[in-house]
């Protein structure tokens, strides 16, 4: 069975070219970049090159790039740093639809006496900047808002948000794990102070991330020890993965046009055809700016896990906003925050595309999904009046 992988917001395939680039740095060029000898020095050069490549994708300066172990570490480091920089400030602002890497951390901090404001989103999953403005006060140390949502692809107006926050003197961080490589960012002209990236979301391996820290932003390291990453992240560099990250960013720069064009067209076609073929659907976040590769479609009266298992039986890998797939019992916090009715939230499926997605992949979903939905709806005690007559 051919596998049709449409779960790229969960993780991506390592690009072969990325893999080739990192391969020598395990058994041959295994030097420690901190060593004084030539053997470590050549690795150091390659790490510098990677740093420059990441910086180039972001429109940033190489010394603004800090390599970490993952997006979660980047998020954690950013928030903790800001709180240490402003020990007198006790307020954090974030949103209800953040990734757990931010949300769980913020909620844990409330137990240590921090005040956390979680901004609401509207039915499209979009932020209200007035609400942000009102929530800010002199006590706010950091505002952390995601660039684009992993479940719906909804893009927040991050630059506007950052400018509002900077006027109040707080630090602005964005979790851009889903956005980087898919939409154009330019740190040189941005008001963002810190930004998180994860390698495995853009065809680098798992276990490497980046925290962008704008020059001049006060910073306190999360990991302390040696002087790696200019004292901002101790620990011997994960050199092979860092080198992979550099290559992945270079490729992402090249493929940005593809994401914006071909991938978006594939996504749009999938969306059009599925909504035409399956009655009683809605597109989560459909009414606002979204990532070009993400489609979150809600189908009434069916439950997500059933859909996923039947899709998987046909070789199609997607993901769901349903609770039953995760072992939790409520539908995703993102869909709930958007006020997606329960009738739909349980039956939401996310398809996330990548540069490797083909026309055939999309054709397969268009062919397989509609009969799966009618089959499950026929089995369901609800919404029977909506069943398609065959």
């Amino acid at each position: 069975m051919r596998e049709i992988y449409l779960d790229n917001n969960a993780t991506t395939k390592v690009d072969e070219r990325v893999f080739e680039e990192m391969r020598p740095y395990f058994c041959e060029l295994y030097g420690n970049p901190s060593s004084m000898h030539f053997f470590g020095g050549q690795v150091q050069k390659k790490v510098d090159e990677a740093r420059a490549r990441v910086a180039s994708l972001l429109g940033a300066l190489p010394d603004e790039i800090v390599f970490t172990a993952c997006g979660t570490e980047s998020d954690n480091a950013a928030i903790r740093s800001a709180l240490e920089v402003f020990p007198e400030k006790r307020h954090i602002i974030t949103s209800r639809v953040e990734h757990p890497a931010v949300l769980t951390q913020c909620r844990n901090l409330t137990k240590r006496g921090y005040r956390v404001t979680e901004l609401n989103v509207d039915g499209n999953g979009q932020l209200d900047l007035n609400e942000l403005e009102k929530a800010l006060d002199d006590d706010t140390a950091i505002v952390s808002l995601m660039y684009a949502n992993n479940e719906t692809g909804v893009i927040f107006p991050i630059e506007e948000a950052a400018r509002i926050v900077k006027k109040k003197g707080a630090i602005f961080h964005t979790d851009a794990v889903q956005a980087v490589g898919k939409i154009q960012l330019n740190m040189a002209e941005s008001a963002i102070d810190m930004l998180s990236i994860s390698g495995h979301k853009l065809h680098a391996p798992k276990g490497v991330g980046v925290l962008y820290v704008r020059r001049g932003t006060p910073f306190r390291p999360f990991l302390v020890g040696g002087h790696q990453e200019r004292g901002r992240r101790a620990g011997t560099e994960n050199t092979a993965s860092i080198i992979a990250m550099g290559k992945a960013c270079q490729l992402a720069e090249q493929y940005m046009a593809d994401e914006a064009g071909r991938v978006r067209e594939l996504r749009d076609r999938l969306e059009r055809e599925l909504t035409a073929l399956i009655p009683n659907t809605r597109i989560n976040g459909g009414g606002t700016d979204r990532l070009p590769n993400t489609l979150s479609i809600a189908m009434e009266f069916v439950e997500g896990e059933g859909i996923l298992l039947l899709l998987s039986d046909k070789g199609i890998c997607a993901s769901s906003g349903s609770a039953c797939t995760s072992g939790s019992l409520e539908p995703s916090h993102v869909l709930r925050a958007m006020g997606v009715p329960f009738t739909c939230a349980h039956g939401s499926i996310r398809f996330s595309l990548s540069r490797f997605t083909t026309d055939d992949d999309i054709d397969a979903v268009i062919k397989e999904l509609p009969p799966i939905i009618s089959r499950l709806r026929e089995m369901s005690p609800f919404g029977r009046e909506y069943l398609v007559q065959k």
Binding site: E303, S312, S322, C324, T325, S328, L329, E330, S380, P381
Partner: protein, 286 residues
């Protein structure tokens, strides 16, 4: 992805008895859209209204909900209503070769639907625990508001499945799985059920056969002692039982813990309380 047995997969991919019986003798409905799973069960009896000749279902829910419904309809066919009522959620799970613990609530839902159908047929008060906010009358006190579950229902599931942590209760009934506000109350219910069991045990004749004693020691360690050690990151292993001497070795956080002596005393106390008063516990390096 869940680790489903082949039998679960088979019943999910090819569910038996999907649909409705228009002239059904009994219909039982549990769950709701909001809860994320629901089951409508139709039962048809023979001419003498004795045995179940047909059963069909409609399910909204995950893979295991569909598989459990399919299993249930297969299991009830040919049974009398009384025999059908004997079916436990554990038997539904066993029929499927087991369900992940997180999914046991699917099997409980099957058992509930069956009870509801039969109660309705007999014209008696449905064993209304309120699952799915569908029932107006509820027997007992509402414990979990999010999933509409009462103490009567929860205690029944706790007792029949021998649950001893709030997390397990969530896996079996969903109670506590949303806002979590009811978890303290669930813990109280567990304590209550355990207390009742202890009392029942105390009333049993004190003379135990050796085999029964060994069984009881093992059960007590598994159900009463180890879960408490796990909570603190520890564990123990039963090494040997010789008459009334029980040898255990401590593992994980308990191993090498300075207060393992106290832990051994705790274990001994539990065993004396629940098995027999002459037990001594020895800590050994195993």
């Amino acid at each position: 992805m869940w680790d489903y047995t082949d039998k679960v997969k088979e019943h999910f991919l090819n569910p038996r008895n999907v649909g409705e019986i228009t002239d059904a003798d009994a219909v039982g409905e549990v769950g709701s859209l909001a809860c994320g799973d629901a089951l409508k069960l139709f039962i048809k009896l023979d001419e003498n209204k004795e045995r179940i000749v047909d059963a069909k279902f409609q399910t909204f829910g995950c893979g295991s909900a569909i598989a459990s419904s399919s299993a249930l309809t297969e299991m009830v066919k040919g049974k009398t209503l009384d025999e059908a009522l004997e079916i436990t959620n554990q038997q539904i799970a066993d029929f499927l070769g087991g369900l992940p613990e997180e999914k046991m609530h699917c099997s409980v839902m099957g058992q509930e639907a069956l009870e509801a159908a039969i109660a309705k047929y007999r014209g008696v008060e449905a064993p209304a625990h309120g699952h799915g906010h569908d029932h107006v009358e509820t027997e007992g006190e509402l414990v979990c508001k999010c999933f509409g579950l009462t103490d009567v229902f929860l205690k029944k599931v706790i007792a029949s499945n021998k649950l001893h942590t709030a997390e397990q209760v969530t896996h079996f009934t969903k109670a506590g799985g949303a806002c979590g506000g009811c978890i303290p109350k669930i813990k109280e219910l567990i304590a209550e059920v355990m207390g009742e069991e202890k009392k029942a045990a105390a009333e049993k004749p004190s003379k135990l056969t050796n085999l029964r004693k060994m069984q009881l020691i093992q059960e007590t360690l598994e159900n009463e002692v180890r879960p408490q050690l796990w909570a603190d990151g520890g564990d123990l292993e039963l090494i040997d039982i010789d008459g009334s001497t029980v040898q255990v070795a401590f593992r994980k956080a308990c191993a090498g813990c300075a207060s393992s002596g106290y832990t051994a005393k705790f274990v001994e106390q539990k065993l004396r309380e629940l098995v027999s008063s002459d037990i001594t516990v020895q800590e050994v390096q195993g």
